[in-house]
Each structure stands twice: as C-alpha cells, then as structure tokens.
Point group: C2
C-alpha cells in the first residue's frame, strides 16, 4: 500500500468522530460473540489431548474442510471433496500461495480495471505485470461472484471469456470468492471453479461473513496442483490457527449459519441503500453502480486531481474513504475516484459522512483551482 | 518435506500405540487451557467494538508487541522497542518473510550442517543455495541460543564468526530463537540481535513454551528494513490472528509467565534425561550430545543406509523418529542419523520407544545385510 495512504488512514482511524467510509471491514455488531465464546469453551474443555492448541497438519482440520467442500458442492462445484481443500490464514494467504506457485517474475496477470488492492500490491511486489483480461496473460485474478471494489457479479460475456481462455489449459485463474455469500438478493452464485475445475484456484474466507480475527480462509486448487500448494502452505506458516479452526468447526456444526448469512445480507443491503441514497443526494455529479453485494461502492468522477490530497482534505472534514488509485490496475490517481464502504457505520452516519465528503470535494476543488479540471 | 517421510509420519500418527519420537511438538499437558479459556471469555466479553475479532493493523497488537520488546530488552537487546516488533503467524512465517525480503533466487545462505527442516525446505523452494557459514554467503540462518536439532547453544567462536561477518554490513542473519526460553539450566541467553541490531532479523514464537495452535510469533527486523518487512507481512496474510493476539496479551498480563516457563524447563529437562538414559542403555553405539534445551536429541551413527527405510522398519516396531536427512544441509540419508523428540511422551514410553528403536535398528541392519555397512 502507498505509505501516504496508510499514514492518512491511521490518522483517520485514531481521530475520534471520524466517519469511516474506508476499509473492507465487516460490521462488528454482527460478530457472533456469544456463540463463538460457547464454542471456545467447549473446544477447550474437550478431554482429548490437543483442543486445537497443538500443531496440526498443514492442510487443516478435516471436519472444517469437509464443511467447506459441502458448501461449494451446494453452489454447483460438485467435484469438490474435503481432500481438495487447504485451510489458509485468511483469503489473502490463499492468493499469495496461488501466486507463489503459479507465476514467475515478469509474468502478466489479467485483472479487472479495478480490483482488490492487497492482491494488486502482492502481484506487483512479486514482479508481475498487471494486464487487461483480453491481453496475453499467464493467468487471471478475478472475483466473478461479487467484485471488489464494485460489488458486482461478472456478466455472462466476461465469465465466458475467462472460461474460454481456461479451456486452452495453458492459463489458470485465481477466483477470489471473499464476498460471494454477501449477495443482497440471496443469489447463491455458481463459483467459476464449478465450470473449470482444472483451471481455477478457488479462494474463500470466513472473514467477511463471520469475523476476520480468526484468520481462517481456504484454497481449493486443481487436483494436479494440490501437493505443490500444500508444500507452499507449509513453508509459509506451517498451518492456519488450530484453535481458530476447531472453534469455527464447532460453531458451524452447532449454529444456523444460513440464518446468520441471511441476516448479514439484509443488514448490509440496508447500509448499501443508505449510501446509495446519500450519494444521489449529496454527490449527484459522481457516477457509480448500485452494488449487488459486498461492503462498498466504487465512485468515479470526471475531475482531475490527486485522490490522496482529497483524502487529506476529507479527513479534515471528518470522513475517510479509500483512494481509487489503490484499486486501479494502472494505479492512476486521476480522474478522482474512491471506494466508499458502508459496512461499518449506521445509516445516519453514512448520510452524514457523505455530506462531509461532498463538502470536502467542494473545498478540494476550490483549493485546487484550475488544477482540478474536468477530464475530457 | 520429502513426500515419503510425510506419508510415513501420517501413518505413524494414525496408528494407535505408536510411540511418537518424531515432530517438534510441545507437551499438550503443559498447555494452560484453563487460563487461556479465562482470557478468551474476558476478551470476548469486553464491551469495546472488536474484541480481537475485527481486522487489525498488519504489525499486530501494540500491547503484545510491547511485552515482546520488554522481554527482549531483559535479555540484553536493549535497543528493541514495541515499534520494532511485527507479530507474525508463527515463527515459520517470520522466517519466510525475512527470506522473501532479504534473498533472491541463487543467493547462498549460510546454515549449520544440520538445521530446522521447514526453513531448509523454504530456502530450497525459493531457489536459494544452502552453504556452510564459512563460505561466501548473502546471509545466515541460525539458532544461536538453542539449536534445532541438537538443542545446543552456539559456542563463542561460532557466534563471533557470524558477528564479524555482520559487521561488514553486507550480510544479514535470520536469528531463529524459537527454543531460547527452553534452556534446561534456566540461562537467559543474550540474543544475537543484541550484539548486531542492524544486521539481525530476530524471530521468536509462543508455540514452544505456550502452545502452537494460536499461531503467534514475531519478527524484529533491523529498523532500516521495518517498513519493507511490514509490507511483506501485509501481502502474506494481512495480519496475525486478532483474537489469538488479544487472548495472549491478556494471558501474559494476568498470569505468571516466568513461572510457566520455569515449570516447562523442568518438565522437558526430565524427559530429556529419560531419553539420554535410554539411548545410553539401548543404543550405546550411537553418538549424540546431551541437549541444553529444546525438545529433541540428534542421534548419529556410522552405519550406511537409508533413513526413510529405517523409519519404515521403526514404525513396524511401533516407534517414530524424524529421519536425519531432513535436517542436513546437504540432505544426505547416510550415514544414518535421526532426531528423537522427547517432549510429547512420558519417561516410561520414551524408554520403551528407544528399546523398540534399538530392535528396529537390529532388524534393519540384519535385513539390509552388507548394504548397511559401517561408513569409513
């Protein structure tokens, strides 16, 4: 991440009263604290020797892998068995492991024009070239079910385009499914790996729907890559947290996860509405798509400028956002764009945050004078 | 890891009655389950918003970093402040991050003739060349306080040799301090980073003294490398487990950690004695050093042979060990050697395990006939 963005976001997070429209954080009020506490006590109280506290195998807890495989089968990936799943330290590690095994420095990786910043940072720092999906690439990184930062599902043409390329057998795709469960309309999307089991490395996580602090995600590579991916996992950190896995497995076995997901979808849909309404009222000149899911909206303008400077002005107005350059394949700061997260603030603070943002925009444009011109 | 070793160890672990002298696992009976359960409940019950369940900063929990810095200062690394510490997903990740930032494929890394297998595997898979410490190298990986697999402290000459090389400023050392607290005589060793703050990347973990299932370790890089290491950490998995960090921090604040460490030292010293006594009785022809700490003894013989075949025979006799080739810089299987772990089995089973091992040795030598000759 750009050091300047990091510095500003830390200032914003530390300043009381700042309305946080930045970050991909879930709402803390949805964390099932009581149920997790019960699962912790039960797991720690079991009379077997380890209780998730001992070392485990690098692939992770078998019952948890079985649960993940079963859920993927329900969504159409009928080939996935528990033996295909590697538990990872969050989705980020799954992406890192996949990139480590698939790509060599200099390789071109196809990504959307805007994508998940920590994946882009990772690819860049590994010496990979970011390219459009229609260019000649060694592989793809994509979020077909619910994209970040736009919160949209791939259209049929974009999906088919990648599937056609995977059919040639000489490229692979990393499918980041982090937000897939959070489709506001409840659609259970069909993962890309269902249609190309031998070409897709499927990545998922409990961070968005349950909580990030357990750091449990997963990777389902094609079978031909499983052993190599497992070795990479072991080299990276031996295994994901054993206690976190044991607790999650118990939680999933003893609670109604579907009900939790459904409640989370409704909750976030309400906050998305609040943001969309506020944007239409306060920033009518900005353009964006209503998200189908996820925690955020990607907002674009036709104003030239520097989105980090705008963030600095916004923080002075008491509101944060994520500068658009962090999401852009090309890293451009201009024309001004931003990701606005709606997950962590209640509706009235979202409305107030967008009003502050509109004021910050005006102050920025005024201060910048003719440097902040409309891009033509 | 060699796939054959992995397959055999899984067979041994799954077969009831096998005496496990393999693995670097701590004794499960020392895990402070009740105290950790109390900390979990307290942390999850706190009225603040996140309780370790939310995303955190990549460097980790400030209070935990402060505790680690303070403990390193007590051991003589007086320069270490909380801002110097990065919480990692176990020591293995700290080694991986350090290697990622320090080395490029083809670089030579100086390691002991025998060392920690998961680090050697990691270096090899990154295309690094393993070399002796006195060769021309880009850097070192070492365990100066308590080595793995021998459980010995560096002698003054070996330590000074590395310090002299670090003084030139063109090489760095990864100091793996995983077992440093487990010196049976209670010595608080002075970490290498105390004598070369700008050249040493110090690595530690709670896995050996408390429990591995929390996956919390740390990395203290030289200040000039801190931001680069932090970016690498974020790319690898965003952050270490938030809940695990919060619980550990609470546990350390509300329990007598020094007393826990002292009890663990005595406990493991007793088991080490049991193994040493059994070896002298049952395998008088084998050579080894009495360990000063750690969980294991490295046993060498002058017999040619294949240590994986010997493991296979041993499992049939109901005892496992770690084949010596996994620890050897050169990866040689012969002459036969092995690491015997004493941490996880009570004294009477250690004695029985070594008796079984001696029988397996005899069967192996008998079966191999003149292929198992004394190396000359």
């Amino acid at each position: 991440m750009d050091r300047r963005i990091d510095r500003l976001q830390r200032i914003g997070a530390a300043r009381p009263g700042t309305i946080l429209l930045s970050g991909g954080l879930p709402a803390a009020e949805l964390f099932p604290k009581q149920a997790l506490a019960r699962s912790f006590l039960t797991v720690l109280d079991q009379p077997n020797r380890t209780n998730g506290l001992q070392y485990g195998w690098p692939e992770g807890d078998l019952a948890l892998r079985s649960w993940i495989a079963s859920r993927l089968r329900r969504r159409g990936a009928v080939h996935v068995q528990s033996d295909d799943v590697i538990i990872t330290s969050g989705a980020q590690q799954a992406i890192d492991l996949a990139a480590r095994v698939l790509y060599r420095p200099g390789d071109r990786v196809g990504v959307d024009a805007e994508s998940y910043p920590a994946a882009l940072d990772l690819f860049r720092s590994r010496g990979l070239q970011l390219a459009a999906a229609d260019e000649r690439v060694a592989g793809f990184y994509c979020m077909p079910s619910v994209s970040n930062p736009r919160g949209l599902e791939f259209g049929p043409a974009a999906r088919q385009c990648i599937l056609n390329r995977l059919e040639t057998g000489d490229v692979s795709a990393i499918e980041d499914d982090a937000y897939a469960e959070l489709r506001f309309d409840g659609t259970e999307t069909r993962p890309l790996c269902a249609d190309a089991p031998d070409g897709v490395l499927h990545v998922g996580t409990f961070s968005k729907v349950l909580c990030p602090g357990l750091r449990v995600g997963w990777l389902v590579p094609p079978r031909r890559l499983f052993q190599e991916m497992l070795a990479a996992k072991q080299e990276a950190d031996l295994q994901a947290g054993g206690l976190a896995q044991a607790v999650l497995e118990h939680y999933l076995r003893t609670n109604d996860y579907d009900a939790h997901v459904a409640a989370a979808r409704d909750f976030y849909a309400g906050r998305a509405d609040a943001l969309v309404t506020a944007l239409r009222k306060e920033l009518p000149q900005a353009s964006f798509c209503e998200p189908q899911g996820s925690f955020a909206v990607f907002v674009e303008t036709d104003l030239c400028g520097d989105d980090i400077d705008l963030l600095s002005v916004s923080l002075a107005h008491g509101v944060s956002f994520d500068p658009g350059r962090a999401f852009r394949r090309e890293g451009r700061a201009s024309p001004l764009s931003m990701r606005l997260a709606f997950a962590c603030e209640p509706a009235e603070r979202i409305a107030e945050g967008v009003a502050r943002l509109a004021a910050a925009f005006r102050a920025y444009v005024h201060r910048s004078g003719d440097r902040a011109q409309t891009a033509t």
